[in-house]
């Protein structure tokens, strides 16, 4: 993370650009933008040191609506550009905005590799399970059987779970949030901002035009609590409208138990710092790949590992200590001869 300066006093308005916002009225993107604009002033980072990089898609317009430096790149490639920026100037505070199509379909390769290298980037993936900007084709996160413009008889592709890929790639920070829960989003963004290394955040975002209510199980008052479990480090996984359900691990299989009857010692206690990727994987799958369980929101994993930039600088400093060479010495090195 970039150095913080206590003198800087920003408000949310300092991060609101004067550009007209071109998202559809009511789009979930607005809430995400607003949450991030609220978090920015609390970080104490000079605005000029913050860079937003995006690809192509509805969400990728994001940098235009902030007042920081921004690079709105091409489809699927924001992580590559962000990598180059951060490697050239590790002092910058980098946010990457991508979507399910941009990040996981055309940009899937970069997604894996940026994460495995632990690039010091905060990646927010807006998952609306649809292609919005191209007007409604199914995306890699669309469910099997999904009927869209390009799948009139239903999709025959299995969907992928962004969080599972992030874990498989070794992400050091993984979180999930939903656009309607702004307070929670703010907490997650704040934590991500302070994480050193790749921070991957999947946001369930509603596209009201092409895939309305795709995430209503987790947003509608009547049933969201029964379908969501909010993770807290060191706390048992308890959920439900009445706070009456809990998750227990049977081997690798999570099960729902009643938190009233079951002994609390059986309940799975969340440890976001667990080095074992398996636990985070189990949490990430809940509700997505096994729908009878609740979906886990919050920070699935947060561990400390040297970032790509740490290693880059360390290696460079080592090399600088080992060897000093002027341009003249370099040009004149090797087997040379003199003609008189």
């Amino acid at each position: 993370m970039a150095e913080t300066t206590s003198q800087i006093k920003y408000t949310k308005a300092d991060f609101e650009s004067e550009n007209d916002i071109r998202w559809c009225p009511g789009c979930g993107d607005y809430a995400i933008l607003s949450a991030l604009q609220q978090v920015m002033p609390t970080l104490g980072i000079p605005k000029e040191k913050i860079v937003f990089v995006s690809g192509i898609g509805c969400s990728s317009r994001f940098p235009h609506y902030m007042t920081c430096y921004g690079f709105h790149t091409i489809h699927g490639r924001p992580l590559t550009v962000a990598t180059g920026i951060k490697c050239t100037n590790p002092d910058l505070h980098m946010w990457v905005i991508t979507g399910d199509g941009d990040g996981l379909s055309i940009g899937g390769n970069h997604f894996i590799h940026a994460i495995r290298r632990n690039q010091d980037l905060k990646i927010i993936l807006f998952n609306n399970k649809i292609y919005g900007l191209t007007k409604g084709q199914y995306s890699p996160t669309s469910e099997l059987g999904k009927k869209t413009k390009s799948t009139p008889l239903g999709s025959i592709d299995n969907p992928i779970n962004p969080v599972s890929i992030a874990i498989a790639s070794g992400a050091t920070f993984i979180a999930r949030a939903v656009d309607k829960n702004v307070k929670h989003m703010r907490e997650i963004f704040t934590r991500a901002a302070h994480h050193k290394g790749t921070a991957f955040i999947e946001i369930y975002q509603n596209c009201l035009v092409f895939n309305d209510n795709a995430h209503e199980k987790y947003t509608e008052k009547d049933f969201k609590d029964d379908n969501s479990v909010y993770l807290e480090h060191g706390k048992p996984l308890v959920f439900g409208k009445e706070n009456d359900k809990a998750i227990k691990l049977k081997g690798f299989h999570p099960e729902i138990i009643s938190s009233k009857n079951g002994s609390i010692s059986d309940v799975f206690v969340h440890d976001e710092n667990a080095n074992d990727r398996g636990l985070a994987y189990v949490l990430g799958q809940m509700g997505v790949e096994n729908p009878e369980l609740p979906v886990a929101f919050g920070i699935l994993r947060c561990i400390n590992e040297p970032t790509y930039q740490d290693r880059l600088i360390e290696q460079e400093n080592f090399a600088k200590k080992q060897k000093k060479q002027t341009l003249e010495e370099i040009l004149n090195s090797g087997d040379t001869w003199v003609v008189k």
């Binding site: 192509i56 550009v81 990598t83 590799h113 001869w337």
Partner: protein, 619 residues
């Protein structure tokens, strides 16, 4: 073989020679050739090399497909090419003989490892019987059958080395023989071996023994009657070293980085024949040079472009297939007007094509291989050492005009070597780079009046926060803008900015020949050497011929049209189907003729000479 001592051998002085070392790709022919090159450089000969190796790392031993060759042309006069035909062919096995014999001059020398001419190997090379027993061969050429494998074993007798190691050092025996034959010093190779095997004293000792054994064999055996000498070439005074195109490219990048103070980020994905630039540049971490081996070609250019946005010198290196993958990002670099160097080290195509062979087939691709109007300056190196100057020039243009630039080289330049007069640091071109700092009057697309460049305002600069995008943007403000008149204006600004660079590049000059005449031979890139040599011969023959060479392929030098008009005919030799010719014909409406041989090899001097002569004679 009986060895008789001959210390009083004839020493003949020659003006030049062309030698090719050929063997299995596992035989170390590239190393052997490289060592011979270094020793030749130390002698002070002018030289030019052509490594030629198969795409397969280790094709089946003894097979024709697995033959690897290294050719060197050296002279006491100035030379331009690795040579059309060979004076000496060193063949380490039958396949090497078979694959290379066609290039040997009649009467030329064949030096073979006769131990490798076993029945199996002879069969593998598709010979019916041992070619060494063929009378016709012995009549047409001077064949020197040497038991290189056995003599190597004898030299190492008693050292108790594993057979594999003994066998592997036989190329040094051949090298020793060649050192003696052409009176080259062994010191550079001995020094090199000492470095390479500093931790394995036994292997070091063995290698030096074999090298010397080869040398002494040449000296003492009755096989060779004469020894040859090629005197030092008359070069301009100064310090020299041998350099390949890829090495010169790397030094150009390093020099530009030191001159400008810009931090380099090379984004690259391994691809033949560009990978050596990545390997070599990654050795300079101590200068703060950063190299990033990306997950693919796209990520490689993406990272480089990100580096440019952040104020670095973003560079990406590749070859044709990789350039295809980079084209969308190249368009983004055009639209966002950021300095970026894209190196295309061309190879045979289309598709995977001939990864290790040379070609000039990407010219139209780099000029036009993107959607819409996407103008980019393109400059091409013409000799291995010219890669250094060309890279500096590419970086000057990119940073001054805020534009991506294509740097063109090819497999022949990349791997070929020539002596390079090491420049004084103080004589290197000054390249000044200014980041925008002032807040007042800052607009992301506010252009410099002279260059039309937009300001380079890098993240971290207070007050200059802005967003760049691939979407069309408004003139000056850089805000997203779909207005038709604005788009028309922006398309034309981008075109004009690049076209105007013509005011800032040197005029094209006649390289050799008169300022007007019957025929101009026009080239670009790595054909320079062969065209020069052909032109010299044509002029000597009395023809009114001259040659000119284009470094700046976009924009063209301003006087190019004037030069073309001064000759009755124009011949454009290219290792493609006539890509420059298409451009010249379209732009200058002249009936330029082509010589187009796309064989994965550099053009031969004789082919250019013949084409020119035919054209002059109206054939």
């Amino acid at each position: 073989m009986t060895v008789i001592h001959h210390t009083d051998k004839k020493r003949e002085t020659l003006e030049e020679a062309t030698v090719r070392f050929a063997g299995d790709s596992g035989d170390g022919m590239q190393l052997t050739g490289g060592q011979f090159t270094n020793a030749t450089a130390i002698v002070g000969n002018d030289l030019s090399t052509l490594p030629d190796y198969p795409a397969e790392i280790r094709a089946p031993a003894g097979s024709l497909a697995g033959v690897s060759g290294f050719q060197i042309h050296f002279s006491s006069k100035e030379i331009h090419t690795p040579g059309d035909a060979l004076d000496v062919l060193v063949a380490m096995n039958p396949a090497a003989l078979k694959a290379n014999l066609k290039d040997l001059k009649p009467g030329g020398m064949i030096i073979v490892n006769s131990n490798a001419f076993s029945e199996v190997n002879i069969k593998k090379a598709s010979y019916d019987k041992n070619p060494l027993d063929d009378e016709a061969l012995n009549k047409k050429y001077q064949v020197f059958s040497i038991e290189i494998s056995r003599l190597t074993q004898l030299a190492l007798e008693g050292m108790n080395l594993p057979g594999k190691i003994v066998d592997r050092s036989k190329n040094l025996f051949a090298l020793g023989v060649m050192y003696w034959l052409y009176t080259r010093p062994m010191e550079t190779t001995i020094e090199w071996l000492k470095k390479k095997f500093s931790k394995e004293p036994q292997i070091l000792e063995a290698n030096i023994k074999v090298l010397k054994a080869g040398y002494h064999f040449g000296e003492t055996t009755e096989v060779f009657i004469s020894q040859y000498e090629i005197k030092q070439a008359h070069a301009s005074p100064g310090k020299y070293k041998n350099i390949t195109g890829n090495e010169a490219t790397v030094l150009g990048i390093i020099a530009a980085s030191q001159i400008t103070g810009l931090p380099v980020l090379l984004g690259s994905y391994p691809i033949t024949p560009a990978s050596d630039i990545l390997h070599e540049l990654s050795k300079y971490k101590h200068l703060g040079i950063r190299t990033f081996q990306a997950e693919d070609e796209i990520a490689a250019i993406g990272a480089a472009l990100g580096a440019s946005f952040a104020g670095g010198l973003g560079i990406t290196t590749s070859s044709g297939p990789g350039i295809c993958l980079k084209s969308e990002f190249t368009g983004l670099a055009v639209k966002t007007e950021l300095p970026l160097i894209i190196c295309d080290i061309q190879r045979g195509g289309p598709s995977t094509g001939l990864p290790t062979k040379t070609e000039q087939g990407d010219l139209l691709q780099v000029l036009f291989g993107r959607n819409s109007e996407s103008p980019i300056p393109v400059i091409a190196a013409s000799t291995p050492s010219d890669c250094f100057d060309t890279m500096l020039e590419a970086i000057r243009i990119a940073t001054k005009y805020m534009t991506p630039v294509f740097f063109m080289s090819d497999s022949y330049l990349a791997n070929g070597a020539e002596p390079w007069k090491i420049p004084q640091v103080s004589e290197l071109p000054k390249i000044k780079v200014n980041y925008r700092k002032e807040k007042d009057g800052f607009y992301p697309y506010g252009r410099d009046e002279e260059t039309l460049a937009r300001p380079w305002a890098i993240p971290g600069t207070p007050g200059l926060e802005h967003v760049i995008t691939g979407i069309e943007t408004e003139q000056i403000t850089g805000k997203i803008c779909y207005d038709p008149t604005n788009h028309d204006a922006m398309i034309k600004f981008r075109a004009k900015k690049v076209a105007n660079i013509a005011n800032d590049i040197p005029d094209i000059k006649i390289v050799y020949g008169e300022q007007q005449g019957d025929l101009l031979i026009l080239g670009w890139g790595s054909t320079l050497g062969a065209i020069n040599a052909a032109t010299e011969q044509l002029v000597e023959k009395g023809y009114k011929v001259a040659n000119a060479h284009i470094r700046y392929l976009n924009p063209f030098p301003k006087n190019l049209g004037d030069i073309l008009k001064k000759y009755k005919k124009v011949l454009i030799p290219e290792v493609n189907l006539g890509q420059l010719r298409l451009l010249i014909r379209a732009k200058f409406l002249i009936d330029a003729q082509g010589l187009n041989i796309i064989a994965g090899q550099p053009l031969k001097v004789s082919a250019i000479y013949e084409a020119a002569e035919n054209l002059l004679k109206g054939k």
